[in-house]
Amino acid sequence: MGPDIQVKGLSKTFGNNKRADKALKNINLSIESGEMVALIGPSGSGKSTLLRHLAGLSCSDVDSGEIRVLGQLVQCQGRLSPDIRKTRARIGYIFQQFNLVGRMKVITNVLTGTLGRVPGWRGCLGLFNTEEKALALKCLNRVGMDLWATQRASLLSGGQQQRVAIARTLTQKAEVILADEPIASLDPESARRVMEILADINDQDGRTVVVTLHQVDYAREFCHRAVALKAGEIVYDGPSANLTPAVLASIYGTTSFDIDGEPVKNKKNPTPAKAFALAATG
């Protein structure tokens, strides 16, 4: 069996404008099973866009190659695989804005992780069995959120919501976890906790984890491998330990790094991916 994630010749242009700058330019990437990889790069470099394509939440340009995850085809030449939902069930996705359903209880949010494998009618009616509920509680316990199980998700803080979102992917029994800026909206303490949980899932359960990060120091601390994007192209792929200030300056196009090697953030770019949230209904 090949690598867990394989991307061949992925290109993406937003909008119909052929002359527009490509968000992703002919990306080739291969990630082996059990790796923990940081995707870094300045705002608008395409790292979130790349991650969305891996889970089939966005469609590539028609002249792109194919994306395979766990050996299953995700998309090829801009078309989602007909089996995309089966593949998505094996991919855990963690969002910057958590994407929990605020009016539902925490436990129900976590139980949606089972939707990919329980019979359709049971999922639709919300008839989860004791075994599934026990699993959901166990996963909530692992992220330290089991005491909040019956609360509405919207009542939790950002860090708590993100931990519930991780419990959702644990309940999903996802073999690959893609985390899109999981800590960008969190306070430092919650951010560290979330990164520690992700590292633990990688370490203890042997799950492949790909995480996009703004903070280079987190990438160096938690991920062995770093892939850097700049203007839609991979400009660095190697050990995160080798991210020297000189390398970082070439990635971020700036010399202003603080002592931890963290780039001084400029104005926050809105991610273009958001506008296409519902475009890829699969």
Partner: protein
């Protein structure tokens, strides 16, 4: 820029003020013209209210005191009226859910959305009274014709309101559910419905209130409820009875409005 040269003695901001005044004046001019045009078409004649004031006073006096002699009949017909409104609304809510989702641009492709929307437009375009007359012919005189009339019209209204709520949702949670490998239907059940439920409940209750009001008139064309009595008493010049019926309608509609407002508050 050219206006800056003609009024070069004025600062930039005041130039803007001057030109905007002309646009506003034009706007008022058009509004006035439309009002005058419509006045003639509608044969507006407020003078008649004063000239025929005596007639109206005599007419109004006929309404009082209200004649509650047949009140058990009025009350039982009013109950039927509310029953018509209940079923007309419930059936409409049940159908408006799929139709509302099928006319939401963000969930279905245009070739589903557009035809369903046009169908809902046509449900909505025809007034309940017209549907009532048609159903009286189709299913015979009686409350069931009223239920069907309210049902069709309300389905059109609620489907539109429901779809507007769906189009305003946050796509994030839907994507969160999608990422677990859920089916399209499950995305709607877990990602969409929880977000729109408070608005849907609120709209449904509001439509129930309007349907109680509408149900009081569909009886005039024979589709059951208190409208029959209202119509008969007016045609028989029994204005004291008409007044009694109207008082009962006002009491029931008001108390239902208050109740449904109370229910709505508990859901939002």
């Amino acid at each position: 820029m050219h206006s800056a040269s003609t009024h070069s003695h004025l600062p930039e901001g005041q130039n803007n003020l001057l030109s905007r005044n002309w646009a506003a004046l034009l706007g008022w001019g058009i509004t006035g013209a439309v009002l005058i045009w419509a006045w003639e078409g509608a044969e507006m004649n407020p003078a008649a209210l004063i000239a025929d004031g005596n007639n109206m006073a005599v007419f109004a006096a006929d309404f009082f005191p209200p004649d509650f002699h047949y009140w058990p009949l009025y009350v039982s017909e009013m109950v039927t009226t509310v029953q018509i409104a209940i079923w007309g609304t419930v059936l409409a809510v049940i159908l408006a859910i799929p139709f509302g989702i099928m006319s939401s641009e963000n969930l279905v492709p245009w070739w589903v959305c557009q035809p369903v929307r046009r169908l809902m437009d046509s449900f909505r375009a025809i007034n309940e009274m017209v549907f009532a007359m048609l159903f009286v012919v189709a299913v015979g005189l009686g409350p069931f014709a009223g239920v069907m009339a309210l049902f069709i019209h309300t389905t059109g209204v609620l489907a539109k309101l429901f779809s507007e709520a769906v189009e305003a949702i946050d796509p994030g949670p839907v994507e969160g559910v999608r990422a677990t490998g859920a089916s399209g239907l499950q995305e709607i059940i877990y990602g969409v419905i929880p977000q729109v439920l408070p608005l849907w409940i609120s709209y449904s209750l509001y439509r129930f209130e309007s349907n109680v009001r509408s149900a009081t008139v569909v009886g005039m064309v024979g589709a059951g409820g208190i409208g029959v009595i209202l119509w008969e008493s007016m045609r028989g010049f029994q204005f004291a009875q008409t007044c009694a019926v109207m008082i009962i309608i006002i009491l029931v509609v008001t108390s239902l409005d208050i109740t449904s407002q109370w229910v709505r508050k508990r859901f939002i």
